[in-house]
Amino acid sequence: MSEQPTEKKAAPAGEKAPPGGLRRVLDEILQGSWLVTALAVVLALFFGAIMIIVSDEEVRGTFSYFFAAPGDALSASWTAVSEAYGALFRGAVWNPESSWNVATAIAPFSETLTEATPLLLGGLAIGLAFRSGLFNIGGQGQLIMGAICATLVGFTVQGPVVVAAVLAVLAGIAGGALYGALVGLLKARTGAHEVIVTIMLNYVAVSFLVWLITTDAVKNHERNEPLSKSVSEAAELPRLLSWLPEGGGSLRLHAGLLIAAAAVFFCWWLLNRSTLGFELRAVGANPTAARTAGMSVGRSQIMAMLISGGLMGIVGATQVLGTANANNALTPSIDAGLGFTAITVALLGRASPVGTVFAAILFGALQAGGRAMQASSGVSIEIVTVIQALIVLFVAAPPLVRGLFRLKGAGGSKAALASKGWNG
């Protein structure tokens, strides 16, 4: 089917829903209840606590004489967990012990928002693709292409502050969008499955990046490690809170947050108020009905990947132009795994723009707090990663959460599974 040249004939291939399994899991997650999500967070924190206890050598020691003096073990456990989660809270939200001035008081939350910014943009990107029935696993590649374009413009253009930054961000959007649209185009024209195409394009982007920063035109000649030239100061995204007295300068929150906020509004409007969004949702939910209603499934898929890639491109731009990277330059690991974390954020946010805001702030808080936790109580930050993974795991397995909390289930999933055959 895929060799047929004309768009008309190829369309049936392109409109094929993603494999039943993936589709079903996604539907389940997107239609689950917010209560399940909240409980999933509680559960994940509970298992995180167990890991904190198990990984602490002193606490483990008290368990060796548990039956002689259980109080020791319990109080040691309580201390370890409360210290770790306390540090996490102080690092992410508010530190009551800090000296009282505005900059210090909001420092933790500023960190949380700084970490949340790329997650929010990425989550919107993946969520939009989900809504259009597409699994964009290519966030990494689109992000890298966005970062490359933003950097190239950023160190070339020496314009006034706002102009240079705007141009660099627009370049980032363009880079990500085109790289994403390529996937949509391949799917619409040939029926190639987007999961496979995006994964392969991730490899291409990573390798291209690694090669690019060794070329003379791009490489930073003053440094030994693989690094590109830094973008001009004018192209850096301005810090938002540097005007605060007594330490405002150290707050990393940058203008990327404003872009992310604008993106939230844009995505909400696109999905709920625009004709294109109506089309994307219809194609995402039932491509054959959309086609029967005269919509072009291929065009929708291309548009969805274009916009999703563009949002990912912004993440790439903010990674370089924001405060994530002290050199404001390309490094081989510029993507920082955000292309994949964004998938979990989108799932947690149910692919809705508003839900994604909460999911991104939660994950940003875990990230910011995790660093503080590691610094003050010696609990490894990897625990945070595990907690994030567990949250999504529990969200993805609503029957498990319902069972654990003895909630009444929607119960539809089992029947749906049974009714689909091998080819379902």
């Binding site: 109506f278 039932n286 009905a289 055959g421």
Partner: protein, 506 residues
């Protein structure tokens, strides 16, 4: 070992799918179960295979009553089933598929050798040529079906149920299947053969039981004529009365014409084979036919969902072929697809959104890329009122409505814009009687406003009640166009593929 069904009754909500059905199948006999789509044949067979539990009645095998609580117990009782849609794993070999669910082990490993031997043995005994090592996905449909039969036989099936086995076969494959069925009969297997094709019944059946609307309406001998069988199957029950005047403008020039339309499927078969038809303004042309004779593809080609290989489709003097579905909808084509859940509605979207699924980007709903939500709601409230759509709110997901109300949503949407032509397939499938009458009235109203209507239905009663003329489709061709007052027997015969000249001469 004889199979007996006594007073089997199965209800789904208020629908009685099987109503006190008695059936007896003897060893070494091919017992044909004849009935229209939706008559309750498949429900009965699913009961027999343990997939449904009957509400009343008893199943006896070899004289002793049997409780079937799943396919496993049916298999153990010697009942084998070949479903209309095969239950095979395409990437497995024939032997692996046959072994599936009945795995023999040799130490820690699956005993592939035994499975292969078993397949060879069974296929030689009954002359079912299959290669145990072939990958199922690579085999032609007819051979896949043979694999299903082999699978049943290796589980020692003494009673074999074939659910519409010829629906997916070419005529040659059908002949081969009949040969195999003949051999099984000689070997003493009891076969239940489900079909609605009269010719096949006459060719192979030993006894015939006819089911209509969930009831056994009679038994017949294979020597009965096709018209007798058709009468039994279609029934003489009261036609659903639709209030309508005769079409007015019988002399007018056609507003809609199809000429020599040919559509091929991916396998290259002509599913629509040189079809020509004309519909005058204010006329309903009903297409009667057994499901799968090209009606679906005909309507899809009219909307532009599939490109025909050749031929032309003209509406009000303008050629439609080569134009996109959207352009055709814009040109005033109203389209109600045969499968509303699949092609007509987005189940997870709201009633309001589904009511504008093909209008969303035009004023008053969409202007310059932005949707007017207030207008969408106003429209929904109005349509829900006008078409009496029973919903808790216009924001309710349409998939939660009953079948009849879902169909009303589709019909309301298609009839809420100025039309120049209406194509409507299976307008009342799975629809309750109240909604049925309403939809029928709306179709007639479109006709009375001077529009050509192309109606496709597998319910012959419906076609007869609504149409001004009836085109009978068989094997991708329009075999005859007859007046709507032609007898159901004659049309039934034409639907079953009888020679038109013989029928008309009668």
């Amino acid at each position: 070992m004889a199979l007996e069904l006594r007073g089997i009754t199965k209800r789904f909500g208020s629908l009685v799918a099987n109503d006190a059905i008695d059936l007896e199948v003897r060893p070494g006999e091919i017992h044909c179960l004849l009935g229209e789509n939706g008559a309750g044949k498949s429900t009965l067979m699913n009961i027999l295979y343990g997939l449904y539990q009957p509400d009343e009645g008893e199943i006896r095998v070899g004289g002793s009553p049997l409780r079937l609580d799943g396919p496993r117990s049916a298999i153990n009782a010697g009942i084998g089933m070949v479903h209309q849609h095969f239950m095979l794993v395409p990437v497995f070999t024939v032997a692996e598929n046959v072994m599936l669910g009945d795995e023999r082990v040799k130490g820690p490993l699956l005993d592939q050798g035994a499975a292969r031997r078993h397949v060879r043995e069974v296929s030689e005994r009954y002359g079912l040529a299959v290669d145990p090592d072939a990958t199922v996905g690579d085999l032609p449909v007819g051979v896949q079906q043979r694999v299903e039969i082999v699978k049943a036989l290796t589980r020692n099936a003494k009673i074999l149920i074939l659910d519409e086995p010829t629906a997916v076969l070419t005529p040659q494959e059908t002949r081969e299947l009949f040969t195999v069925m003949g051999r099984l009969r000689e070997a003493g297997t009891a076969i239940v053969f489900i079909t609605h094709k009269l010719k096949e019944v006459k060719a192979i059946a030993d006894r015939i039981t006819v089911i209509r609307r969930g009831k056994v309406v009679g038994t017949a001998d294979p020597s009965a004529s096709e018209s007798e069988l058709a009468a039994l199957m279609v029934g003489r029950q009261v036609r659903l009365k639709v209030e309508k005047e005769p079409a007015r403008d019988t002399g007018a020039a056609p507003a809609f014409s199809v000429r020599d339309l040919t559509v091929r499927n991916l396998a290259g078969q002509a599913v629509v084979d040189g079809v020509s038809l004309d519909i005058r303004p204010g006329e309903v042309l009903g297409v009667a036919g057994v499901q799968g004779n090209g009606q679906t593809e005909l309507t899809q080609a009219v909307l532009g969902l599939i490109e025909p290989e050749s031929g032309s489709i003209v509406l009000d003097g303008a050629e439609l072929t080569g134009r996109s579905p959207r352009e055709r909808l814009r040109a005033g084509l109203g389209f109600v697809p045969e499968d509303r859940g699949h092609d007509g509605l987005v189940g997870t979207a709201s009633v309001a959104e589904n009511l504008i699924l093909d209008l969303y980007d035009r004023p008053p709903f969409g202007r310059r890329g932005t949707m007017d939500v207030r207008e969408v709601r106003r429209n929904a409230a109005q349509r829900v009122e006008e078409f009496d759509i029973r919903t808790t709110s216009i924001e309710q997901p349409v998939g939660e409505l009953s079948g009849g109300n879902q169909q009303k949503v589709v019909v309301a949407r298609e009839m809420s814009r100025p039309l120049r032509m209406l194509v409507i397939s299976q307008p009342t499938r799975g629809v309750d009687v109240g909604a049925m009458e309403f939809i029928h009235q709306r179709i007639i109203r479109e006709r009375d406003q001077g529009r050509p209507v192309l109606l496709v239905s597998t319910e012959l009663d419906e076609v007869m009640a609504l149409s001004d003329r009836v085109a009978v489709m068989y094997g991708g061709k329009i075999v005859a166009v007859v007046p709507a007052d032609t007898s159901t027997e004659k049309i039934g015969l034409l639907m079953a593929g009888a020679n038109p000249e013989d029928v008309v001469d009668e």
